[in-house]
Amino acid sequence: MSGTSDDLLEPLRKLLAFDAAKVALMFLGIWVLFYALGDLRGFDLAGSISLIRRVTFLAAVYAIAVLALNIQWGYAGLFNIGVAGFMAVGAYTVAMLSSPASGTPSGLGLPLPVGIIGGILAATIIGLVTALPALRLKADYLAIVTVAISEIIRITYNAPAFSDITGGASGFDNLPTNPVRTLLLTEPGSVISEPTAVGQVLFSFAEGYNIGRLTVLNGVYTFGTLLVLLLVYLLLERAGKAPFGRVLKAIREDEVAARSLGKDTQNFKVRAFALGCGLMGLAGILWYAMGPRASVVPTNFRPELTFYIFIALIIGGAGSNTGSILGGALFASILFEAPPVVRNLVREWFNVSANPANMIEALVPLASGNFDPLAGFLLANIDTLRFIGIGVLLVILVQRRPEGLLGARKETAAAVDLTEDTRPGGRRSSDVAADGGGETSE
């Protein structure tokens, strides 16, 4: 690659195009896979699209949460294992602010945008409050504090004492109206009500393919989530590929060295932590406070959620924003959504009807050459078994490729290109030119 040294932005553009291609290719692959799975199960087009829509939505919200974690852990090395708690703060705050007063528990009925901004701010502020004392601790202690905070948040929301505000264990039964419904329907509460002008266009187009209104509504919401994902990505790319991100990386590598160079590391850590928590709040809002999976109950925000997001980040490669999207989407689709679909498929194909109650009932018939009970047992428990699969994958990953999909890539944190030889005067020795072009050198 022998780009002219005048056009400094050219390699950057190339790189971005490359990443966009990667992400697009991955989504395309996921869509094709699930279309094929749906097709094999005998779904019609509408059914397959509905399946694809569901997977895409989960991939997008996961990717947003993983990106938020990446700025904290991937960049600054802040070991936050309270992700679920900050997502809960976002979702609950929206529910409290914008739920109608008629529901149980009654919300304040404020407009949804106010609720969303309030939710992000609340997560940011809780992040700040946690960060101020906790970021003075070393990594492992910070981890303990954050997981504790996350549980305190969940248990507080769960507590009967606050059920007038939070709904206690049963959560909110009347969440704010999905904004897409407001956009497409004249009566957002009823799917069969008269559509708005925009709604009319979309619904009648979809009807041509036999696609129902609910799928359209959820599809538009999913598309909106993808747009938010893009915005979050751009935000974090710009913050990361700048002196801000550079100082965060320096803190991850050696905080004492960063301090000795005049960087107020405490200040940077607090800001990175608060930014990440705010975005986790946003992910919580999009995921749980509205849209197709809307449900604000404490059980959504158990620590497992944090671990899933960590696994997704490890798969994608900590420190890489593009990797975060890949990791989040692949985790959500291949590891989380695909197994149950495959289970149904196998059941249908092989006509597995046995459903033994336990392992012994599944294994004993093996002696007489009957594999059916074991197959039935495995299929019935695939929701649990997939976590064994995820565990095995993690072990392999940590042994074979600890840096994840894109973690090994040289992503320099600067607002200008640092990979080319950009010496003033354009002097360029041949040995530098040789390795000047590859951004993937390891």
């Binding site: 700048a242 002196p243 991100g245 100082v247 005049g262 960087k263 107020d264 607002a415 010496r423």
Partner: protein, 296 residues
């Protein structure tokens, strides 16, 4: 254990260090008297009655010395003499139990390390602390103080980012020049973790220089460096001195110190044993005693 405590002390330091206003005029006056000549800014560095103990061990026990403008001052002493602790007290890594540190006449005792570095007093470490998983050029561009793009808003918002990019281009140019000065420009795109020991020392010095310091404290910059590279480093240090930088150097190699420093401070058991010209130090019986008789 003590490590954790240090960390706490370091972080908990109040920013309201004793009001420098009261001390400043006096310190500045004495600086002029003591031979900083016509330079009105005061002595680059003055340490008075510095004391620091860890548990029962008194690492620094009332050290008093000053560093002259534009000098290359050597700080020597046997192991355990308190040199590194003195460095840490000066640069804010440790808070001294008593005693004061003045930088250009301003008291900086107990000021947080980043603030001291920002004011122009920058250190390097005995074991080079380059940032392994960042490239050499990234390491270099990290250092300059208070960059525009350290603000999230400025980095992110479309209208403001062009300022950040402009500054980054200028910084990159500075970084290249400094790398060329230290003759490690061919390594710019290499991860710092892949550098050899000597190259790391060069990078550490080059990076510290990127902060545009006024006074540099070098903690054993030649440890583990081969003679050729050592000469190169010394050449650079002398060149920088001619440009007006002041150096305080901790070093074990007596010959090197005697040859290159015009002023030498000898520490022993936490105190300043003697200070003065190389001749004076060379002929001081106590110094010889400390080096030969001490628990090296």
């Amino acid at each position: 254990m003590s490590d954790t405590n240090d960390e706490d002390v370091d972080v908990d330091l109040p920013e309201d260090a004793p009001d420098p206003e009261e001390v400043e005029p006096e310190a500045a006056d004495s600086a002029i008297e003591e031979g900083a000549k016509e330079i009105p800014r005061g002595l680059p560095l003055r340490v008075e009655g510095l004391q620091k103990s860890f548990g029962g061990i008194t690492a620094v026990d009332g050290a008093t010395f000053s560093v002259e403008e534009g000098s290359l001052t050597g700080l020597i002493g046997p192991n355990g003499a308190g040199k590194s602790t003195t460095f840490n007290c000066i640069t804010g890594v440790h808070r001294p139990d008593s005693g004061d540190v003045y930088f250009r006449g301003d008291e900086i005792t107990g000021v947080r390390p980043h603030a001291i570095a920002q004011s122009g007093l920058v250190r390097t470490f005995q074991i080079a602390r380059e940032l392994d998983e960042m490239t050499v050029l990234e390491n270099m561009m990290l250092a300059p103080g208070l960059q525009r793009g350290e603000s999230i808003t400025r980095s992110v918002l479309p209208g403001l980012r062009s300022d950040v990019v402009d500054q980054e281009m200028a910084l990159r140019e500075d970084a290249w020049e400094t790398l060329e000065f230290f003759e490690i420009d061919h390594l710019a795109d290499e991860y710092a973790g892949n550098l050899s020991g000597g190259q790391r020392k060069l990078l550490e010095l080059a990076r510290a220089l990127m902060t545009d310091p006024d006074v540099m404290l070098l903690d054993e910059p030649f440890a583990g460096v081969n003679p050729t590279l050592e000469d190169k480093l010394l050449d650079r240090i002398h060149e920088l001195r001619e440009e007006g930088l002041t150096f305080l150097l901790v070093e074990h190699d007596m010959d090197l110190i005697m040859e290159h420093c015009e002023h030498i401070i000898v520490m022993h058991q936490g105190r300043v044993l003697d200070e003065g010209s190389p001749e004076r130090i060379r002929n001081n019986e106590e110094v010889i005693e400390a080096y030969l008789g001490g628990e090296v």
